[in-house]
């Protein structure tokens, strides 16, 4: 900022004032309760503690231009919020994306066997890897699929610029003592996860996909304080609401994971104190092509769910056993 003429510094002003009022010499303030409180307040402002999150997260506030990527902008915002809420810089994050499941293209006839893979609502989770790296976390991405010829893909981004030292020191201090670098073999099955452990595992899948996405042992993938975050939604496409939480919570409980939170991810932006819904054209475009129209009498879904699990404390697990 350009200093104003004749007003160079606040200290100069105080000196001048001191000369003019030499009789009122400044005396140090006594350290009262109020000054202590001000001191602690100043410290707190200097080192702000992240606020406690709520169970509803607005994720569509930013006007991000749609690029050529598959990842929806609200998903990217959600991933950033998950990473910053549940991890610290230097910790390790695994982005686990299910392989695109085969869907039918167009109306099917008896002789028509056109089946192709189309990106779903949660496609492109791996694209968030670079953003997570920029947040100072180590990232590994994994693709999981139900087919034997599952496409395995691993992108080890941990040794990106500026992250080498921090991640290496984190690995040295990790209680598991495992190397940070992931298993370079690209074709390992989910059940045969490498011995690497992650502080945060993020996955996003449709309710029907979660059945086969579930690995045999989540606990072995997470550090003792690790978090599993699953982005999914309730399925309203049939006459009966299908909520994925039931089977997921049960499976996680069997694997020694604790159901920590269920967070609502808002896909509609908040503008002027109200939720803004996209125009019908935009909404139709954002919907999955395979999704049938919503049954009558239902609300327009503007949210997805984030189910958060943490590992149970060792004492609690031993008691349960």
């Amino acid at each position: 900022m350009t200093p104003a003429h004749g007003n160079d510094s606040a200290e100069g002003e105080s000196e001048k004032l001191g000369d003019a009022h030499s009789s009122t010499a400044s005396t140090p303030l006594r350290r009262t309760r109020r000054t202590r409180r001000r001191h602690s307040l100043a410290l707190r402002l200097r080192h702000p503690v992240p606020g406690r999150p709520s169970t509803v997260w607005p994720c569509a506030q930013d006007n991000l231009f749609e690029g050529t990527g598959l990842l929806a902008s609200w998903m990217l915002t959600a991933v950033v919020k998950i990473v910053t809420t549940y991890t610290r810089p230097g910790q390790r994050v695994l982005l686990l994306e299910p392989a695109p499941h085969p869907v039918q293209a167009g109306p099917r006839t008896t002789n028509d066997t056109r089946v192709q893979s189309r990106p779903g609502r949660y496609a492109g989770l791996h694209e968030a890897g670079w953003t997570v790296v920029r947040l100072g976390r180590g990232v590994q991405t994994e693709t999981a699929g139900p087919h034997p010829e599952r496409v395995g893909e691993r992108l080890d981004l941990e040794f990106e610029d500026g992250l080498r030292e921090s991640v290496s020191s984190q690995a040295a201090a990790s209680p598991a003592g495992q190397p940070t670098r992931g298993n370079p073999e690209p074709d390992s099955a989910l059940d045969d996860f490498s011995p690497d452990r992650y502080d945060l595992v993020i996955t996003a899948a449709e309710p029907g996909t979660l059945g086969w996405l579930r690995p045999a042992n989540w606990g072995s993938v997470l550090t003792p304080a690790g978090i599993l975050a699953v982005i999914t939604r309730s399925d309203r496409s049939t006459s009966r609401l299908v909520d994925p939480a039931s089977s997921l919570v049960r499976a996680a409980d069997c694997e020694g994971l604790r159901y920590l939170d269920r967070i609502t991810l808002l896909r509609a932006p908040i503008r002027d104190g109200a939720l803004v819904v996209a125009t019908p054209t935009e909404r139709a475009r954002s919907l999955s092509p395979t999704r049938p129209p919503a049954p009558t009498g239902q609300h327009v879904p503007v949210h997805d769910d984030l189910l958060v699990f943490s590992r149970r404390p060792v004492t609690e697990v031993s008691l349960r056993v």
């Binding site: 709520s54 809420t85 006459s239 009966r240 039931s246 908040i270 109200a274 009558t296 609300h299 503007v302």
Partner: protein
């Protein structure tokens, strides 16, 4: 509040006012705030405006202090509530009286009875006439306080019985809406309320058709402002550093099983469950 929302969203903006302001605006009498498990007036008003029309009958089989009844009467619906707690009965009666004093001319009644009475011959006149059953999952009820049982499981079992009694009372196109506030177990883990409520509805012969989020946080400008009390913040801190502050209520919507099938097939429901009952099902088909 308008009766019909142009675009009903799965997230209800029902936290624009804090609870004391909501109670004052709804004309509730002093003491209603002591019912900690009440349905917030804004949530009740939103559900009533979405799922019923003027003149419909709204039933709360466990009405507590009667916020549901007040919201129904103020929006031009008939209201019937049941409670076996003398304290809540007095408050619910006072709230109904206050609503009628404020100009509501529809019928409003509070019965000092348990929901099981709805399955007896004394409730035969209600069969097929209820447009909306709107109730809350109450885990702190005195009759559920048993040291050997999980309060949520006991409350869910009680709710199953209640909904089973309410199911024959629904008119064609009627809905059952259950509101529940997320809660935790002693070890800090979250109770999977959604799954438990869905099981409850299915066990009662209903079909779950929708899950909505009723906000208790305020949408202010472009932000979401959480309304958490000091006690709630302290409780969240005691549970752990990673737990979130509750900013919503779970809302589960049920319909009669055959009507849910018809709604998906795109056919309007024309099945009268009792003589003289209006058909209310095809108003959503028009919207589709």
């Amino acid at each position: 509040m308008s009766d019909h929302f142009a675009t009903p969203l799965s997230v209800w903006p029902t936290g624009q006012q804090d609870q004391p302001t909501q109670l004052r605006a709804a004309g509730c009498v002093s003491g209603t705030e002591t019912d900690a498990e009440r349905i917030p007036p804004a949530v009740a008003a939103h559900a009533i405006a979405t799922y019923t029309q003027r003149g419909d009958l709204v039933l709360d089989p466990d009405c507590g202090a009667g916020t549901t009844l007040t919201a129904a009467l103020r929006s031009g619906r008939h209201a019937l509530g049941l409670t076996s707690d003398p304290q809540w009965w007095a408050l619910a009666r006072a709230n109904v009286t206050a609503a009628k004093s404020a100009g509501a001319w529809h019928d409003g009644s509070v019965l000092d009875a348990r929901p099981r009475i709805l399955a007896t011959v004394r409730a035969a006149g209600l069969t097929g006439r209820v447009g909306l059953v709107l109730t809350a999952l109450r885990t702190n009820s005195d009759r559920l306080k048993c040291p050997d049982h999980d309060p949520v499981e006991s409350a869910a079992a009680e709710l199953t019985t209640t909904l089973r009694c309410c199911e024959p009372l629904l008119c064609s196109g009627g809905h059952v809406v259950v509101v529940a506030r997320p809660c935790r177990r002693r070890d800090g883990s979250l109770v999977d309320l959604t799954s438990r409520l869905i099981e409850t509805g299915i066990a009662s012969g209903l079909t779950p058709v929708d899950r909505c989020i009723a906000l208790t946080a305020e949408l202010r400008g472009g932000r979401l402002v959480t309304r958490a009390s000091f006690e709630e913040r302290r409780a969240a801190r005691a549970v752990g550093a990673q737990t979130s502050l509750v900013a919503h209520h779970e809302v589960l919507v049920f319909r009669l099983a055959h009507e849910a099938e018809l709604a998906v097939a795109g056919r309007p429901e024309r099945i009268d469950r009792s003589a003289g009952c209006r058909t209310a099902g095809d108003r959503y088909a028009l919207a589709a």
